[in-house]
């Protein structure tokens, strides 16, 4: 038995998904249900939650206490921060980025969405598509989560009605045309009773699709990374200076896009020097190819000057190189963004500074309307912004590459991350 399970386990894939929701829409119940029904909650955790529930005078075991980790959250009965949860089935390992869904936590939703392959969006079967649905879907689209799963929840409260399900599906379908989402799947569920969460519902025989867990287990994630445009931001230069490896120089980094092969003709940015990949090195030896998101080291044919913050690309596939960049910015700090203000920028492994040149418009995340008359960008606001950097960045549009299209903005006094940006796909100056 052990041999079999070990073998299976070594062959599992990893799926990162995000959930967003408010107190009332059953998000905590859904996560509790997924963890509980997939046997991922341990006895001592359940005991601890039981003890805490009783102490609080709750009638039922409150599964939300499993996810609300900080004292302040438990006291106030809300999720403030992004909490990461883990569970596994024989097919896949899952990482849940569990985020609060209320508008004042947009920054937390954006954070959870940044690394996700999939998003679960809950719609209350009684209410249909609401402002909250709109907000969550927009964030999923903006952050380019490839797979969105619309869970139409509380089907028990609408009599498990197929008509209601189809109605909401159509409603969301029309709305989704305004968004940029690669794949949408719909699942009618009751998180409270477990219908179509892990086990198929006997109450909805008209539904032929998979349960939520089956959908999560079968989403195709092999191509979620860009495998077309080879990008290798140099992270660190490995120089052993030992007798055995006296002249070795390895450019260490994580492939941020495309596939690299030994023998590839490469160009180094910003120097524009060219060379060829001699070998792709890892501890175990050398590789025949390396693709995103592998961490490797390149040895080159020529001894050229390369340091952290440079980017190795293939000669015939160049990224954009510019100091003037248009981004969609999500502001993450209580102190509003300063027009003409100067900030530090981190983009891949590169550090530069920037000035906020122009605020084109803000987005009303509840209606998707562009707002032109209010240019104050405050906490949780999303805006289209033009920045100019002190040195050129090497980037791709965010919707083409989530690694090379993303950057963070840092306040130079507090060193805090105050904004995050995604490069738009409009032509960059």
């Amino acid at each position: 038995m052990t041999e079999f399970s070990s073998k299976g386990y070594l062959d599992m894939e990893l799926l990162r998904f995000t959930t967003a929701g408010s107190v009332d829409d059953g998000k905590s119940t859904l996560i509790g249900r997924l963890l509980y029904d997939s046997k991922s909650i341990f006895e001592d955790q359940l005991e601890a939650v039981k003890r805490a529930s009783i102490r609080r005078g709750n009638e039922h075991i409150d599964l939300a206490l499993l996810t609300d980790g900080l004292r302040a959250e438990r006291e106030q009965g809300i999720t403030i921060d992004v909490a990461y949860r883990y569970f596994a089935t024989p097919k896949r390992k899952f990482i849940i980025a569990d985020t609060p869904g209320h508008i004042q936590y947009t920054r937390n939703m954006v954070t959870g969405a940044s690394t996700a392959n999939a998003a679960i969006i809950l719609i209350d079967g009684r209410n249909g598509v609401t402002e909250q649905t709109c907000r969550h879907s927009y964030i999923a689209s903006l952050l380019q989560i490839p797979h969105v799963i619309i869970c139409i929840n509380k089907m028990d409260l609408v009599g498990y009605s197929q008509e209601r399900y189809e109605q909401i599906k159509e409603e969301f379908g029309i709305f989704a045309r305004m968004l940029d989402i690669r794949e949408i799947t719909y699942v009618p569920i009751s998180a409270l009773y477990g219908d179509n969460v892990v086990d198929s519902s006997i109450n909805m025989p008209w539904y032929n699709g998979g349960t939520l867990l089956q959908v999560l287990e079968n989403i195709g994630i092999g191509n979620d990374h860009n495998l077309v445009d080879p990008r290798f931001p140099v992270q660190h230069v490995i120089r052993p200076l030992s007798d055995e490896y006296h002249d070795y120089r390895g450019y260490a980094g994580r492939v941020a896009g495309g596939v690299f092969f030994p023998g590839d003709k490469i160009t180094v940015l910003p120097s524009m020097l060219t060379s060829k990949i001699k070998s792709i090195d890892v501890y175990e030896g050398t590789l025949d190819e390396a693709w995103a998101p592998m961490s490797v080291a390149f040895s080159l044919e020529d001894d050229i000057d390369i340091s952290r913050g440079d980017m190795i690309v293939k000669e015939d596939n160049m990224p954009m190189v510019s100091q003037d960049i248009e981004i969609m910015m999500c502001w993450m700090n209580e102190k509003p963004m300063q027009l003409n203000g100067k900030y530090a920028v981190k983009h891949t492994t590169r550090d530069v500074r920037c000035i906020i040149k122009e605020i084109s418009y803000k987005v009303n995340v509840n209606t998707l309307e562009k707002v032109y008359d209010d240019k104050q960008v405050s906490l949780n606001d999303i805006a289209c912004v033009k920045i100019r950097t002190t040195k050129p960045l090497f980037f791709d549009p965010y919707n083409r590459n989530r690694r090379t299209g993303a950057l963070i903005i840092i306040d130079e006094a507090s060193n805090n991350t105050v904004g995050v940006g995604m490069v738009t796909d409009r032509p960059q100056a």
């Binding site: 070594l10 609300d68 596994a88 092999g222 490896y245 981190k346 993303a406």
Partner: protein, 302 residues
Amino acid sequence: MKSKFSLTHLEELEYESIYVIREVAAQFERPVLLFSGGKDSIVMTHLAMKAFWPARLPFPLLHIDTGHNFEETLVYRDNLVKKLGATLIVGSVQESINNGRVVEEKGVNASRNILQTTTLLDTIEKYKFDAAMGGGRRDEEKARAKERFFSHRDEFGQWDPKNQRPELWNIFNGRKNPGEHFRVFPISNWTEMDVWQYILKENIELPSIYFTHQREVFNRDGVWLAKAPFMKLKDGEKYETRTVRCRTIGDISCTGLTLSAANSLEEIIGEIAATRVTERGGRADDMRSEAAMEDRKKEGYF
């Protein structure tokens, strides 16, 4: 269907952790890797070795020594340091007690676990370390579930859970003011099962106490603890010889032993797959209150 370019979850976790460890080496001037002799810090050291191969580790290992160690852990530690050609720094809790920096806890449940925090912060200050990498995982405990990869600490070494820096994609912000430092958790996204499977896959050597052996133990509140000169029995407790192994390794005074005959990694993995209690379920330090871990972390604990 899996594409040619898909990765297994262990590969993906490994690449992520190597990326984080390399970021630490690149963004900080004086990083250090916290080494306890436990499986998580052993996996961390293995990942660090891979991240910089064929160069040596560009940072030292730091062991905060409570003086209450399993002997096997120290033997293992010294062998590993020799094998890697690494530098080892030891911060001694006994020394902190001798210097009057901390006072030893009294009573039968006395543990040096909390005292470690002072020794750790003193050692960080003494060597001016600006980043301390640890083997903490988010699946371990609910306060850890909200921890960042790069976790900022103020000049007192404190963690402010309500004012953490946003952390998006794989862009890590290690900027800080003088006197502040970072705790970095490269294996944040690993679970206990992932760690064991990785040890199996990579064939990583472990201290022998992780495997079954006979030991003199006693039972306190349902937890098996090891006999040691500094452990005092309560009324009604008695030593007995049992077949046990460690599921986690910490200070002897708070490391619960598992009754187990598991003698190989495969058997341990089978045991964990069937178990219904988390690995910290045997840690007396976590049972002190609902927010025990959060409180210790705020003060600067690992």
